[in-house]
């Protein structure tokens, strides 16, 4: 009972930090971080994925190398790099949130790029041929024929990537951003004797967010299969 009291006493702080009197934090900041990096990585992943599908020769090799690099290093290392390089490149002190969003978006985009290019490759060659024979240019084919179909197929992987992002926002802990994991460890340190309920509660919040989205992803996957049986 006393344990639940701890959660109750710190509920506001765990859910939205000191907002509205101070900066947003806690679960709300986790959500904001994941939405912003989710959108940025969706845009980036789409761009890189299309490039991966259309580029040939050495430029494709360079892109593959960059994507391979991003997929080979831990998110944590990339956060360190961006945290350190951004001020040097732009000569100003950026708020701590920016490096985290950049690092998460970059890695996430690298993963999505392969999903996007696989989605494009999965479409039958006849789609390209038919569109070319209508006199569309390469970009028009992509924009009006290929991407609309490929994107529908890829929707579940975008949602799955978002779930990964929600979990990965916890890494913002290493640069002291007040998102849910940081706030939970602060509360646990302050209260001292009740780490169990505090971390269980934080885990529960993440679980609700991730499992909820995961259910949405499988629903989208099913409804898509339903909508176009020819593609299955």
């Amino acid at each position: 009972m006393e344990a639940l009291e701890v959660i109750h006493a710190n509920l506001d702080y765990l859910l939205w930090g000191t907002w509205p009197d101070g900066p947003l934090g806690g679960a709300a900041l986790t959500l904001v971080l994941s939405v912003v990096s989710g959108l940025a990585s969706a845009a980036g992943g789409l761009l890189l994925g299309v490039l991966l599908a259309v580029l040939r020769g050495w430029s494709r090799q360079v892109l593959l190398l960059v994507l391979g690099f991003l997929r080979a290093i831990p998110v944590l290392m990339l956060i360190f790099w961006v945290y350190f390089l951004l001020p040097i490149l732009f000569g100003l002190n950026v708020p701590g949130l920016v490096p985290v969003v950049c690092a998460l978006s970059l890695i996430s985009a690298a993963y999505l790029a392969h999903a996007v290019s696989a989605g494009i490759a999965a479409l039958p060659q006849g789609q390209w041929n038919a569109a070319y024979s209508l006199g569309l240019t390469r970009w028009q084919v992509l924009r009006y024929v290929i991407l609309p179909q490929a994107l529908r197929m890829m929707l579940p992987s975008f949602v799955n990537q978002w779930i990964t992002l929600i979990k990965d926002t916890s890494l913002a802990y290493v640069v002291g951003i007040n998102e849910l994991s940081t706030v939970a460890s602060q509360v646990s340190n302050r209260v001292m004797i009740h780490p169990v309920p505090v971390f269980l509660f934080a885990g529960l919040v993440y679980f609700v967010l991730c499992a909820g989205l995961s259910a949405l992803a499988s629903y989208l996957g099913r409804s898509h299969q339903h909508a176009s049986p020819a593609m299955v």
Binding site: A72, I73, P74, L76, G203, A211
Partner: protein
């Protein structure tokens, strides 16, 4: 312009960090593979209670961040364990094996590898499970017709084939284990990311410190990649099959 190199002292720190990362990864890979097999079998077990338990495990461990899980094992679990157990875990029990002494690991190490293994198990199990599902139904029927018991069938017919299907995603998970081991710095385990931060703070050579650590991770991933190719070549079926 010359780039100042890291002093030998710092390189030693980094090398120790790299060894620690490799060590955590190897332990987590071995145990999560063993536990992953068990979990995969439990998910398709005959008894509904096993299936339910396995499903819950997968759901919980896949849908919460590894960092929170590590915090739980490091900060919260000691409160749940009996005092005697904690005392036993925190006192050194050096292991004497054929003349060489294995030191007793720190609680950070125990909590870190334990947490990483449990997290990875949930992912490894799913890959093994899809490998098992890739084995054609006829194989079960043929094994049963040959008079094999359920266990023999799994051991000699199904799992070897399932493993072949699952190899490539499994090695992907092993690479994730290497990368995820960096999160154990959150509970103060002196692995590669942790030591790179330490070297950076002590030497102010940020670029070099992060550069060496990044190369270390890429090296470990590359080793796994080469291993994956070799294993795949070895178990590949002759063409036409």
């Amino acid at each position: 312009m010359t780039v100042e190199l890291l002093a030998p002292k710092y390189l030693t720190w980094m090398a120790n960090g790299l060894l620690m990362t490799a060590w955590i990864a190897v332990i987590a890979i071995v145990f999560s593979t063993l536990a992953g097999f068990t979990l995969a079998l439990a998910r398709d077990a005959k008894k509904p209670v096993w299936r339910l338990l396995a499903r819950c495990y997968t759901l919980v461990f896949r849908n919460t961040p590894l960092l929170i899980q590590l915090f739980f094992w490091y900060f919260a679990a000691p409160n749940l364990l009996p005092e005697n157990t904690m005392l036993w875990l925190n006192t050194p029990h050096p292991l004497n094996l054929a003349g060489c002494t294995l030191g007793w690991p720190s609680f950070e190490f125990l909590a870190g590898t334990f947490g990483l293994t449990l997290y990875a198990t949930a992912f490894v199990a799913e890959d093994i499970r899809s490998g098992i599902r890739g084995v054609p139904k006829g194989q079960y029927e043929a094994a049963a017709a040959s008079g094999l018991t359920r266990w023999q069938m799994q051991r000699h017919v199904i799992l070897p084939q399932a493993l072949r299907h699952a190899l490539s995603p499994l090695f992907g998970q092993y690479m994730n284990i290497v990368k995820n081991s960096s999160l154990t710095m959150g509970i103060g385990l002196a692995e590669l990311s942790y030591t790179s931060r330490q070297v950076e703070a002590a030497s102010f050579l940020t670029f070099q410190a992060f550069g060496v650590a990044t190369l270390g991770y890429i090296g470990l991933i590359a080793i796994l990649d080469v291993l994956a190719r070799q294993v795949q070549q070895r178990v590949a079926l002759p063409a036409g099959n």
